[in-house]
């Protein structure tokens, strides 16, 4: 293994995840400390912490390409793992690493560039006869052009940022009267988020399933897939709950879609981890959506059903090794579910909740894995996204996985912040969910209540409040009475004294 040291250009739970595999492989791990979170857990887990040089510009630390490269060079670090988000899908960053003789743990700059642009990715898919949704292949310049194409495809349509990731820069347009306003919102959001206002337009499939295939390639031209993940539980295109495998995919469909995923990866000479996303309609017809050229947040569910360490695979492939398995050696066992736990107030429309974690108790048991970057004392800030932990379970079958997840969620205790745990419980207890009736409109259509309430919860909450208040009143009146011991007080005076406390 020529990679002896690894710089992780990321933070939180994924930094810890990468550190854990690096340790297992005997690779020295380096992380970067920022002034925004100088006491975070990931800093304690790495072999060495590098302080980010004082900033005189506006570029956030984990997006500062030149500074990160300089850090790697200065400390003579062999390789950089970008994690997910930040620079993970920045082709220029991958190229700079290559130019500077640093191994980038990920695909080639060319593959990142091509698949990173949804328009180009669709063109490549089309050339290889992979099914696509009707839409524009080129970026759209004006809302009148968008209107014209939409009339041709037929409403509803969806506007998508060409350079978009993670569901941002997307707007569903139901009718032509909405196009002008939504075109403006989509393009300006795209410009702000990705520095590229180009959008393209696509037929909008109602209530599809979001099915994605994990693929892996090596630098010798081999590509295989590791099965699918179903990520249909989404809110505003943000995934909240994922599972592997999918109820909707049988062996035949898995083989077919898997081969298409491998085909598109090979079309760009892909190596390292990647995810090919499809939409599956109600008739089990699939359409290529996009390819994510990075390790994903939800990779653990694939790890749980295949028994593989995907970060280790990434490092080995970057090191020049061949894929450890052939396609027919990949086995999917049992079922895995991941619940994303975010610091959000479900009852206030999932608005981000800022605060400090006063206490936390993480369930540890067989079949339960918690990937987290937080601990007691962690402050939830607006600088980074709101995910605080991933609760991942494995079961022999889907029903057992659901039960294990609910038990683990009940044991996951956190004090001081609001989280989406009651939302996860609502989904897992939902009848349609248990029957596997999933699609991307699940939350709007199937969940009557966004949060799960245990029996007598409100009564017990009221009891607790009354009890606490009554207890406090008692200690206040005791203080007043003690002070006035021996004096004769009328009830009005006593009342006034207590009022003024």
């Amino acid at each position: 293994m020529s990679i002896k040291s690894l710089l992780i250009a990321n933070r939180g739970e994924i930094a810890i995840r990468i550190i854990s595999t690096a340790k297992k492989m005997g690779i020295k791990s380096y992380v970067i400390k920022t002034t925004k979170e100088p006491n975070e857990t990931y800093l304690q887990m790495a072999d060495e912490v590098i302080e980010f040089p004082a900033k005189h510009d506006e570029i956030p630390e984990f997006l500062d390409i030149e500074s990160i490269i300089l850090i790697a060079k200065k400390h003579k670090i062999n390789a950089i793992h970008p994690g997910y988000g930040f620079l993970a899908e920045n082709p220029y960053f991958a190229k700079r690493c290559e130019e500077q003789g640093i191994i980038f743990i990920g695909p080639s700059p060319d593959a990142i560039y091509k698949m990173g642009n949804k328009t180009i990715a669709k063109q490549i898919a089309g050339k290889h006869n992979i099914p696509l949704l009707k839409g524009s292949v080129e970026s759209i310049k004006s809302f009148t052009e968008a209107e014209r194409i939409a009339e041709k495809i037929g409403y509803p349509v969806i506007l998508k940022a060409a350079a978009g990731v993670g569901g941002r820069g997307m707007r569903i347009v139901e009718k032509s009267s909405e196009m002008a306003k939504l075109f403006k919102l989509a393009t300006s959001e795209a410009q702000k988020a990705f520095n590229d206002s180009s959008v393209f337009i696509e037929k909008y499939v109602r209530n599809p399933r979001h099915i994605e295939f994990q693929i892996f390639g090596d630098k010798h031209g081999n590509v295989i897939h590791l099965g699918e993940r179903e990520c249909s539980i989404q809110r505003k295109h943000q995934k909240l709950l994922e599972e592997a495998p999918s109820v909707a995919i049988d062996d035949t469909l898995r083989k077919k879609m898997g081969e298409e995923a491998v085909k598109i990866a090979k079309a760009v000479n892909y190596y390292s981890a990647g995810t090919v996303e499809f939409l599956l309609d109600s008739e089990k017809k699939y359409f290529f959506m996009e390819m994510n050229t990075r390790i994903q947040v939800e990779h653990p569910v694939t790890e749980m059903v295949t028994g593989l360490d995907l970060i280790e695979w990434q490092i080995r492939i970057a090191n020049g090794e061949k894929l450890p398995l052939k396609q027919n050696e990949v086995k999917i066992n049992g079922w895995s579910i991941e619940c994303r736990i975010n610091a959000e107030d479900v009852q206030s429309n999932f608005s981000p909740f800022l605060g400090t974690i006063k206490n936390i108790s993480i369930p540890r048991s067989k079949n339960v894995r918690i990937d987290t970057g937080i601990r007691e004392g962690t402050e939830i800030t607006p600088y980074f996204d709101s995910m605080i932990a991933k609760l991942i379970v494995h079961g022999e079958n889907r029903e057992l996985a659901i039960e294990t997840a609910l038990n683990a969620l009940q044991k996951f205790k956190i004090k001081g912040i609001k989280t989406t745990i009651p939302f996860c419980k609502a989904v897992l207890n939902n009848k349609a969910f248990r029957l596997g009736k999933l699609n991307t409109s699940f939350i709007e259509n199937e969940l009557k209540e966004l949060y799960f309430q245990e029996p007598d919860e409100e009564l017990m909450a009221a009891l607790f409040v009354i009890y606490s208040h009554a207890k406090e009143l008692k200690s206040e009146t005791a203080a007043v009475l003690n002070y006035d011991k021996g004096k004769h007080l009328t009830p009005w005076v006593l009342n006034k004294r207590i009022k003024s406390l």
Binding site: Q347, P422, A462
Partner: protein
């Protein structure tokens, strides 16, 4: 007999009401020896502290509970990670209420407040101009997404409290509408 962890006689006796923000009333009576009665039955509850977490136990249920926010007699409590809001009426506050004679005039204006923290990107409303319920009045950028804020009332925009580029916190007033 009511079960509790602390010693007897540690609660002020009398009638207590926990009022939810939907108007539901939970009426309790605490006796001289601190027994809690609800709907004419003495409740058997237990409050335990364990490893830094507080639990309330009642019947078969034992739930983690925490008061996450408080303003005098207004409480927000988290139980099983679900939030409930209560206004508490106590034996003292009942007496105080009887003494109050002033009446608040009905409010003719309403504020539109920020539903989440973020940055003001665009203001479509104008002072002096009317808006209809449902009209988009402002665009707030939060968590990397653009959110359209609509007016929940119809009326004339009396005052706009923010300008483009301002950062706001949740519940900060954005503008005042005269109904």
């Amino acid at each position: 007999m009511a079960k509790k962890k602390e010693t007897q006689n540690d609660l002020v006796s009398g009638k207590y009401i926990a009022l939810t923000n939907k108007g539901k009333k939970y009426e309790f009576y605490i006796s001289e020896d601190s027994a809690i009665t609800y709907k004419n039955k003495i409740l058997s509850i237990s409050i335990d502290e364990s490893e830094g977490f507080t639990f309330i136990e009642f019947g078969k249920n034992k739930y983690p509970v925490e008061i996450i926010d408080r303003n005098q007699n207004k409480y927000e409590v988290l139980i099983n990670n679900v939030s409930y809001n209560f206004t508490v009426e106590t034996p003292f506050s009942f007496k105080r209420k009887q003494l109050l004679t002033s009446q608040q005039p009905s409010s003719k204006t309403e504020n539109i407040v920020a539903p989440l923290p973020g940055k003001i990107l665009e203001i479509m409303a104008e002072e002096g101009v009317s808006v209809l319920e449902g009209d988009a009045v402002l665009i707030l950028e939060a968590m990397k997404m653009q959110n359209e804020i609509t007016s929940h009332v119809s009326g004339k925009v009396k005052k706009i409290f923010v300008k483009c580029g301002d950062t706001v916190m949740k519940d900060d007033p954005l503008m005042e509408i005269e109904k």
